[in-house]
Amino acid sequence: MTKIAKRVFDTLILGAGGAGLRAALQLSQADAQVAVVSKVFPTRSHTVAAQGGVNAALANVSEDNWHWHMYDTIKGSDYLGDQDAIEYMCRAASKLVYELEHYGVPFSRLDNGKIYQRPFGGQSQNFGASQATRTCAAADRTGHAILHTLYQQNIRAKSHFFDEYFAIDLLRDDEGTFLGALVIDIATGEPLVIEAKTTFIATGGCGQLFRTTTNAHINTGDGMAMALRAGVPLQDMEFFQFHPTGIAGKGMLITEGARGEGGYLLNKDGERFMERYAPNVKDLASRDVVSRAIATEVREGRGCGPKGDHVMLQIAHLGADVVKKRLPGIRDLCQTFLHIDPIDTAIPVFPTAHYVMGGIPTDRHGQVVATFHDGPEEVVSGLYAAGECACVSVHGANRLGGNSLLDILVFGRAAGNQIIKHLKEHRYHKPLQEDAIDKAMQRLERWDKKGEGESVATLKAELKQVMENHCSVFRTAVVMQEGVDEIKKIRERLKDARLQDHSRVFNTSRIEALELENLVDISMATMLGALAREESRGAHSRIDFPTRDDKTWMKHSLYHLDGDRLDFKPVRTKPLTVETFPPKERVY
């Protein structure tokens, strides 16, 4: 077998979205040797598509503090979030937003020159008493502004990028220490081993599981699947957020900021139906609540359009100035994809697959944690994760809008700091055995097999349809059991799938095949987790188990690839310094 080229770094970062770039910056500024591997040029990462903003209790518009933010996040999580991690995140938020501003993020401004903030769903003053205004925004292009700025600062800090390299698998030694990854250069098809003392997974979400999604083509959960194959479980994968306002039938995201600025939802009777579901905050209830309300309106025959399959989002009353100034991006989207101008016409919307709350289990320092051989939970040596691919868990069963950009900043930075500590304690690289590389290479070489077989595109389309039909906003055991059977069949058929194109140079078919393998493993984690959880909590709504069951189910699920096994661990209900917020009925 030909010798594979090797490069050696202190740290390998997989993924160049907000979490990867924030960690890379921390590390480069500390003079660590960082390799950032991304399957797309960094500014193509999906952080770029985040619109509405990032939460921090700056109190620029109205009174606010991190403790209220913490309460809202815990309530929003339907009490499944870990309260120590949530306290940590909410405390750090302001500092990290100011830091971004110093890095150059072009935040919108208030008349007094401070950062503009808008109200978002599920945020309150004084522990639920009144609406807060906590989401810091750069018009409705906040993700774009943050991602580009973080990339720019990494240029300044001279982080080393491997643009358009795709990670095949993680590499580890016999003792279980992670030592880097096997990647391929997409442009040449050549494999490369990147050896590192620490590996940080920041590969983002897996919205490509579903047919209609706000997520980009690249969101295939590569890092989560790599972790699974390396024996690390995935946590809470049954909790998948459906954003209330995706463009109906198409999926493009219309920011929650549209409702934050004063927009509201209407059914076919022109009724502001959210008043019935959330009498206090109406259209600014938590995302899970609003998505269920929309789905219910449509199911009960009050949907709009010839098929009655969506509702309308009205922002016309805000006036042309507000729309142009605060929501220019979604106006563009409406004009491009719907040929309407939201300044005078309502937008057809429907809940659309958006964000996975679950992921690779970590502690609040970004260290991956797992249980091996039924022992207590322990830190996995050399492996870190943050952002959507990880589960700290700060989002629990339902993420609040504006908390994902915060998550990637806080835990990207925290992981960076923890890695710096690790590097100080581990001055030398551990040796990497060749057989670890061989095993990873097999995953790549499997697709060199020629001959007849099903196409990757066919299987991917089927998988996405299965997920949409069997694991959507409302779920039942019967439907999900069918879903599990369907995924098992797809998993078997995937073994006999073949590529038609075996060329080396920029072979996107081969990348898509590897991505599909990742998606199939994650779909099983999602469906099995959802089938097992016999309660309704946050984004997970069971028609057959309509209430939350804190006695049995206030615990995190853990899916192991080996034997499709599930086990559980308790929620961390003890914050760092303040009192626990005990579970209460969730009313908005």
Binding site: F41, H46, K95, Y103, N112, I115, I155, S503
Partner: protein
């Protein structure tokens, strides 16, 4: 719908060629990217970059009936048949519609596209009035798709010496940001006959920008500022 697509795979082809293909099924509202994905199902070897599908990631710049644009926000219905698709002009082709954007990104990095502060850092935000913030509109929204620079004849001739419209737009984005404190350094960096002054206001850049930005006016403003500083 009929297409003529630029094809070249260095593994199997000795030279590039235009492939004529037909797409049987189209639907209302279909974008060019949807069509290319459908064509890729017919022939999986067709290679092109794409990701977000809504014009924010900047992956899928290509030359569409002679004009640069993003496939994901180009409605099929507006295109004359046969739809001729080529890679972005003037860049080395890696394969099919995928080009090497190395020089383009090198030039972007060359303008120090990051905020430089010399004052000690505060523990709150640097204040900026809404009017000053408005100056960044039309600049910060750039998605680095490369449509402008690869439509610029000056960039075709001097891709290593002329910074090109995308990089210069970013240069002005930081020059005009009231928070940035490196104005003189930035202007000094642009000195000489090539980096900035190879722009001959041909204005292809603003004609093709999928985000409606105008690098030409940004370049004009840099020149104005230079002049002002020189006298």
């Amino acid at each position: 719908m009929r297409f003529k697509i630029y094809r070249y795979n260095p593994d199997t082809d000795t030279e590039p060629y235009m492939q004529e293909v037909e797409l049987k099924e189209t639907h209302p509202g279909m974008m060019l990217r949807d069509a290319l994905l459908a064509l890729k199902e017919q022939d999986p070897s067709l290679s092109f970059r794409h990701s977000c599908g809504e014009g924010v990631c900047g992956s899928d710049g290509m030359n569409i009936n002679g004009k640069n644009g993003l496939s994901c926000i180009t409605p099929l219905a507006e295109l004359k048949e046969p739809i001729e698709i080529r890679p972005l002009p003037g860049r080395p082709v890696i394969r099919d519609l995928v080009v090497d954007m190395g020089d383009f990104f090198d030039q972007y990095r060359a303008v120090k596209p990051y905020q430089i502060r010399k004052d000690p850092q505060k523990d709150v935000e640097i204040l900026q009035s809404p009017i000053d913030r408005d100056k960044l509109d039309g600049l910060y929204e750039c998605i680095l798709c490369g449509c402008c620079s690869t439509a610029c004849p000056s960039f075709w001739w001097n891709p290593k010496r002329f910074l090109g419209p995308a990089a210069l737009l970013q240069s002005w984005r930081f020059l005009t940001d009231t928070r940035d404190q490196a104005e003189q350094e930035r202007l000094d960096d642009l000195d000489g006959p090539y980096k900035l002054f190879r722009c001959h206001t041909i204005m292809n850049c603003l004609d093709v920008c999928p985000k409606g930005l105008s690098p030409t006016s940004a370049i004009g403003k840099i020149k104005e500022l230079m002049l002002k500083k020189a006298i």
